[in-house]
């Protein structure tokens, strides 16, 4: 591992970085480093590029780190990572993709992450993306939550990614809940699309999607969500965007109640920074630019 690798890893890691129990670093399409333990095993897929992760039942609080780094131009890397999490386990998974591409050829990363989560699990999944140079990302996340689970997913993409097409699909079992927090900031000519498809299948299943995004310069974003209530369930989708300059955000929400006890809410708001927020911070001595930065940083925190 060289300095660039380390720098990229740091950029896609959590600020309160915890040392992982299990690790799999993928660099330019190859496994660079792997660490497993007696509760968690990682094996390479046979027919496809990627890994299968197996977490034993009743694994208590394990931290996994599955980052991808790309330091080559013109690389198209598609990877399938499957997480099979045994009943009653508690895991935190850090994933993400760091691209450092000083080449003029575009690098592309397609990460397909599938979670098969057993009964009574608690899972936190954190995904960060970072790019220097020209890079596209197409992350797909599929989540299958069995009964009595709690899952939290956090995704962060702050500037630098030319093109991102994100798909998230979830099927939620009885008494299980999924919370998704998404933060996106695009600038220049960047484009980001995010698409949620959630099936509230189980009785008392719930989902809460909070998407906050900022589009500045000429950047473009699309937010699509489709939450289907197929049982007694609760779904809440919030899409909140700040636009600046010629930034453009399009939100297409859909909620579909197919059960009389499905309770689904969608809230979407798009607009520029509220004038009174700017004024308040200016009365504290910040100039307009500083106030703007403070408001955006807070919003995406």
């Amino acid at each position: 591992m060289n300095n660039i690798d380390n720098e990229l890893l740091k950029n896609i890691s959590d600020d309160n970085y915890v040392k992982p129990d299990v690790l799999n670093i993928r660099k330019n399409g190859e496994v660079l480093e792997r660490k497993i333990n007696e509760d968690i095993n990682i094996i390479n897929k046979k027919d496809l590029s990627g890994i299968d992760v197996f977490v034993k039942e009743r694994t208590s609080l394990a931290v996994l780190q599955i980052p991808v780094i790309i330091t080559m131009g013109g690389l198209k890397d598609t990877v399938y990572n499957d997480f099979n999490i045994g009943d009653n386990s508690n895991v935190i998974i850090f994933a993400g993709c760091g691209i450092h591409n000083k080449d003029s050829h575009k690098s592309v990363h397609n990460g397909i992450h599938r979670f098969n989560i057993g009964k009574g699990c608690k899972v936190k999944y954190i995904e960060k993306h970072y790019c220097e140079g020209i890079g596209d990302i197409n992350p797909t996340t599929e989540i299958y939550l069995d009964d009595n689970c709690k899952m939290e997913m956090e995704t962060v993409q702050i500037k630098g990614i030319n093109y991102a097409n994100r798909k998230t699909k979830a099927v939620i079992g009885n008494n299980s809940s999924l919370i998704i927090n998404e933060k996106i900031m695009t600038e220049k000519e960047e484009y980001a699309k995010t698409d949620f498809l959630v099936n509230l299948k189980g009785e008392n299943s719930s989902v809460h999607v909070v998407s906050r995004s900022v589009a500045i310069d000429n950047s473009n974003q699309e937010f699509i969500s489709n939450v289907e209530g197929n049982n007694k369930c609760y779904g809440h989708v919030e899409c909140d965007s700040i636009i600046k300059d010629k930034g453009n955000v399009k939100a297409i929400p859909m909620i579909n109640a197919k059960h009389v006890e499905a309770n689904l809410i969608h809230e979407a708001s798009i607009g520029k920074i509220a004038g009174e927020q700017l004024i308040k911070l200016m009365t504290l001595g910040l100039n307009e630019k500083e106030a703007e930065t403070e408001i955006i940083n807070g919003f995406l925190k």
Partner: protein, 236 residues
């Protein structure tokens, strides 16, 4: 010394302030009172630079600051607590207070500073400054952001609104202390007798005009004499 000279404000062809002339001397605690819609908030917003006067000048210590921006005024020591505190998304009470103090203080220090001014916020220092805070809590935080700046000119727009009786008593003693120790000017918009009591001067504003400047008794008496003050505009 702060002087408003021939200040007028016209919005949508409506005269909101009409040729206001007033001098705020140093060390003075001035209370502005008057009916709803009389232009009190507009007047103090002109001092902070939030509203631009249609004509007239704002002069601070002999210097014309009429064209200064809000942040420039903040940096020369003018501070303003909003009548309706602004809400944010993602910005916490702690973040806001750090910005107000303009230095990187730890939470403990932050709370200490505020306890000193009678505002204990340790229960909600990590909360976001949004609608989940109660009206009174938001109001206290708003006041705290001004106190934290230790301003030369401190402006409070109806600080008592939404504050419970117990906190209100603390608030008046805070203002009292502020009045005693401050070398600057404190301007408070208020309708509370307790606050009028501690004022060096009370300004009565009506229909965008300064009706009277005097002590509490004089102002209260003139309110009772002049009925229009109590009737307001919407009583036709």
């Amino acid at each position: 010394m702060l002087e408003l000279r021939n200040i007028s404000l016209i919005k949508d062809n409506k005269v909101i302030l009409n040729d206001i002339n007033i001098i705020f001397s140093n060390d003075k605690f001035v209370v502005i009172t008057g009916p709803n819609g009389s232009g009190k908030s507009s007047l103090v917003k002109i001092i902070m630079g939030i509203e631009k006067p249609s004509s007239g000048k704002v002069i601070l210590d002999g210097k014309d600051i009429t064209n200064m921006s809000i942040d420039e005024r903040a940096n020369i020591g003018i501070s303003f607590a909003f009548q309706n505190p602004v809400k944010f998304k993602g910005i916490t009470v702690y973040d806001l207070l750090k910005l107000s103090l303009n230095k990187d203080v730890c939470k403990r220090e932050c709370c200490d500073t505020l306890s000193e001014v009678g505002l204990c916020i340790k229960d909600y220092v990590d909360r976001e400054v949004n609608g989940t805070l109660s009206g009174g809590e938001l109001k206290r935080i708003e006041i705290a952001t001004v106190m934290a700046r230790n301003p030369k000119i401190a402006i409070f727009d109806e600080p008592e609104a939404g504050i419970d009786l117990w906190s209100f008593q603390r608030l008046t003693s805070v203002f009292n202390a502020l009045r005693k120790q401050s070398k600057g000017i404190t301007i408070v918009i208020s309708h509370q007798e307790k606050i009028l009591d501690i004022a060096d001067e009370v300004v009565l504003l009506q229909n965008g005009i300064i009706e009277k400047i005097g002590n509490k008794e004089e102002i209260i008496n003139s309110i009772f004499v002049d009925k229009t003050c109590c009737l307001g505009d919407n009583n036709e």
